[in-house]
Symmetry: C2
Subunit: 168 residues, 2 copies
DNA sequence: TTGTCTGCAAACACTTTGCACTTTT
DNA sequence: AAAAGTGCAAAGTGTTTGCAGACAA
């Protein structure tokens, strides 16, 4: 049977396309690649922004080509994509927000509480800090999530006009 | 009118007790200190662990002295306590978890995905890292949240017996 | 053909809200 | 007495699930 780990071309680049990886993951557990699942994976793969389930659902519906998918199917498929390692899920203001994970380097976020924009950043120091802290507590780290909330440049300037600002 | 900021005794220590601060906050906006609100604030203040709304509700109900409070009142009061700066709220696995904020130094968490335990830690370096990153993006930081998930010492040892491990 | 999917509607967990009655100030 | 609070039941979110018909392998 084929294995994704057999290849290793350089740094973060991965051997399989997200679609291939998904197919492999699904096949491995006897799940099928249906029209809906394919449409969802393709659509998500085509864009690199953060998004939530309802957004995706709406976009799929407005797409002429693929006939879209129902809400349950969208939610089910997003979960499968997270399990497959294609997407990473985070919870913001009560709803799940997804971002690409497969083939992307580890990173964290700046979250603008005024316009809800997520800005990515990576920090090698943070990883080291994380490992050091974990070691101190004899804790085995599996992952982490840092969200720095505040006001982004855009909102800082137009802040004077309309009252912005929300919870942290 | 009285102001909490008039005092400033030393480092992290605060002048008013949580109860006093809450009372001041409420008075300032014409809200009353009812039996229920008092019971909730007292109960929460008496313990320093992390907790969620349902837990608190159950504890209040099982407490003989105060007759407890209804679910809506518990939720309403928790929100008020967060607004008053007494509690900090974070969302974990779908529900809100609260911890003391007033008079406590900034800290972050290690989260055991096996037993759901939260372990606190503080890191001055993290604050600096945060500010440096924010500065790079001309972002005005208002707060941050770092959660390192993994397996705690206890679960690491008893891990062999029953299969643990969950999502990040 | 067989077993997995889909979509619908209903169920869910957590949290908030409308409203009549109660309580604090 | 006046204003704000409480509790109940109901409404809301966002997300999941049972099930009968639809479809991929």
């Amino acid at each position: 049977m084929a294995s994704a780990a057999d290849f290793s071309l350089g740094t973060v680049r991965t051997a399989l396309t997200p679609q291939e990886r998904f197919a492999e993951f699904m096949q491995a557990r006897g799940k099928r690649i249906t029209r809906q699942r394919q449409a969802i994976v393709d659509h998500v793969t085509a864009r690199h922004e953060h998004f939530d389930a309802e957004q995706l659902l709406a976009e799929l519906r407005s797409t002429p080509a693929d006939a879209g998918a129902s809400r349950p199917t969208v939610y089910r498929t997003l979960n499968e994509m997270v399990e497959a390692g294609l997407l990473k899920k985070m919870v913001l203001d009560g709803r799940a927000v997804y971002e690409h994970d497969y083939g992307y380097p580890q990173h964290d976020h700046l979250y603008c509480t005024s316009c809800q924009q997520l800005i990515e950043f990576s920090s090698e120091e943070l990883i080291q800090l994380r490992n050091a802290v974990a070691a101190t507590h004899q804790f085995r780290p599996q992952g982490h999530r840092l969200i720095i909330s505040g006001i982004c440049v855009n909102c800082r300037s137009k802040r004077s006009t309309s009252r912005q600002q929300d919870r942290v």
